[in-house]
Symmetry: C2
Subunit: 471 residues, 2 copies
Amino acid sequence: MSISAKYFPDEPTAPKVVTTEFPGSVSVKAQKDLAKVFDARAAYFVADYEKSIGNYLVDVDGNVFLDVYAQIASIPLGYNNPALIEAAKSDKMTRAIVDRPALGNFPGKDSAEIIADVLKVAPKGQDKLWSGLSGADANELAFKATFMWYQAQKRGYTKAFSEEENISVMKNQAPGSPELAILSFERAFHGRLFASGSTTCSKPIHKLDLPSFKWPKAQFPSYKYPLDKHEAENAEEDKRCLAIVENLFQTWSVPIAGLLVEPIQSEGGDNHASQEFLQGLRDISLKHGALFIVDEVQTGVGATGKLWGYEHFDINPLPDIVTFSKKFQSAGYFFHDPEIVPNVAYRQFNTWCGDPARMILAGAIGKEVLKHDLPALTAKVGAYLYSKLEALQAKYPKYIQDLRGKDRGTFIAWSLEDGAARNKFLSDMKTVGVNIGGCAEESVRLRPTLVFEEKHADILVAAIEKVLSGY
Amino acid sequence: MSISAKYFPDEPTAPKVVTTEFPGSVSVKAQKDLAKVFDARAAYFVADYEKSIGNYLVDVDGNVFLDVYAQIASIPLGYNNPALIEAAKSDKMTRAIVDRPALGNFPGKDSAEIIADVLKVAPKGQDKLWSGLSGADANELAFKATFMWYQAQKRGYTKAFSEEENISVMKNQAPGSPELAILSFERAFHGRLFASGSTTCSKPIHKLDLPSFKWPKAQFPSYKYPLDKHEAENAEEDKRCLAIVENLFQTWSVPIAGLLVEPIQSEGGDNHASQEFLQGLRDISLKHGALFIVDEVQTGVGATGKLWGYEHFDINPLPDIVTFSKKFQSAGYFFHDPEIVPNVAYRQFNTWCGDPARMILAGAIGKEVLKHDLPALTAKVGAYLYSKLEALQAKYPKYIQDLRGKDRGTFIAWSLEDGAARNKFLSDMKTVGVNIGGCAEESVRLRPTLVFEEKHADILVAAIEKVLSGY
């Protein structure tokens, strides 16, 4: 029995479209009610999570969408997954919700086990974690660890802070508050708080009017597709971009303490990195004594056909920090070097230090992911889907350009000729019962759950063809 | 029947101390296990939340502590409160946990109701909210709203962004990423991320080695206690500090978009603000076209004897933004001006836009707080406790200095002569069965739950006297 059939005996066998407008009239009314108390302008429709199941998201009008967007790439095992419902109804979860601890000061008797369960899904060799609350938070906590580590390398890990550092930091001045930078890339997305926002560089709307740290942006490779027909050019592109990174390390006005990269730039257009590029970054970070931070907020937990996106590559030595959120439903960073734990307590600290309730859920997700080897499933289903999309690409080359994600599970994307064409396509897909998302200005990204199977892929491909055949 | 007796028929009637060392041997072993996967150096002991009940926190050694610290001021209604357990076990909560929505894009059919329930506890006149995940996050989201509002005042709320803004922001440069500041105070605590950390100014350990925004810090009044014997001096202190704020607005190198203040600086030593000071700040913010942001992360939700700390004062016009977290178990900010919603969608936005699971809990907390008028209870119990502490102060003036929090519910604090004496006192309180916390270097802060009653106050006062009588 397939995993989705096992989890969801009542999963619909096909989408059902009952309205002619999207959102439908019931949703429009519900959005108006919501708008009285909340900024609901970005809502596509109002969902009925009670009726949603597996890979199908139901709206309040009764439309049943095959969902290949999955709450912006963050539903791991389908809606109302019974294994997660069991975890959510457990006494352990109830206590984590009603007796939320200040985890750093008053951990509970089950805290070590809860955290160890999360670590069972960590990338190989990354045996420690620090917990946070969202992808942006995870990245900023990683930045904090990075800056503390960087200064500890200069100062000596165990050396006490100087009087001058203690005084100047209270004025937000050096040496206590040093000028240091995180290097990231054009088209990157790492979150929307102030430091994470300073590393994000995909769309102006994310950060207009916000003050920022003046941190450097390198260029991320833009490969020619299909990759196997442009190997030489793409190798040149890697070299060009690595030279930019090296140059920034040598010339930037303040020291660069960390190098931050997504293995696949996700919000920024599903721009994939190569083995050579990622290893090149690792080498540069080592050469300059900076930490190598891999942002796996979107690529983590199985969708690419590996548990973690960077595990498609042989990166030596291992990345120093790997951040997570989204599909794990819990956020934070993994690491292995004991010196990434700051030298004294209360430096990487806050009231809650994460959320054990969300960590319990992450442990339950991880258990299912490992038990059913879901990365193997996404690899298999992704290969099947990719080949179908390649065939569609041959038929509709104008609407499926630069197909990306071969051998990357269901983490697949393609481009249309411009933003208007892309937006029309996303919108038209609703008329055939598919909820699908975009990235960058002109790309479509597939982000189904980890229990998206060949039967769902068939429905998706048929729906795409139905839309494209009408163009 | 008292509210604690109603919620907790099995609540202990007194602390029980079973170890001679703190942490006890079972806790020490559990901390060692935890340390393999997590930075556990700040742990006081390992708690047994299953056995904890009401105002009593139990550790894994079997010590039963009367808890007047309550997870750094964040347990609202006592451990294992039955009303919250009911909310945690509801189907609505289960769905919020397993089907966590991207709330901005795909709100659920119950989202409007969930948010409206949270708003029932909002400060009067603040009828909208934006949701986040922690106190630091709440403040930074408020900063984002503030900067967007400030620029909209200059640009025109509905005016489109210029090409120059759209291009420069991607380079983290003005005009798209303008140089703007938030003004905060010395001894303030607003969180530990990079922007919130830039406004925090209570202890070096919070921010050493972290880059920061160069934002101005004014001085917060240091009053002489008891207040009623130093009215003239304290009025002068208000004037002195307000003049500093006014001067910073006039002279700071970049425009100040927001003025951020805690009604009682909590981490920074329980430094109270007066009516005159807060109204003075409100006036200055209006005069200079900045938003007035009140950080109620620690003072909010009833502990001060009012629902919100600033409601002790008559501030006109109302604060623009009020941030919350901790006792509400959900985080974000309240506001009332429609123009604090940015002009277009996707500006104040992120994947999750808060956590409906935590909002459901906040709604349940709010319902109990209103139903049982818990601010009235904390006012009554606080007055009772304060008078007992005043009597102790007369007896042990060296160990209870500058008693603070008269008419502020159970939000009470005092100072000892130095950090060593304070730390010894906190530690000694464990030997008599009380878990109690400090703030600043030399202060003790009381942060019991909202269901801390006179009977608990009697136990606390007797325990304090027992410790002090041995000095």
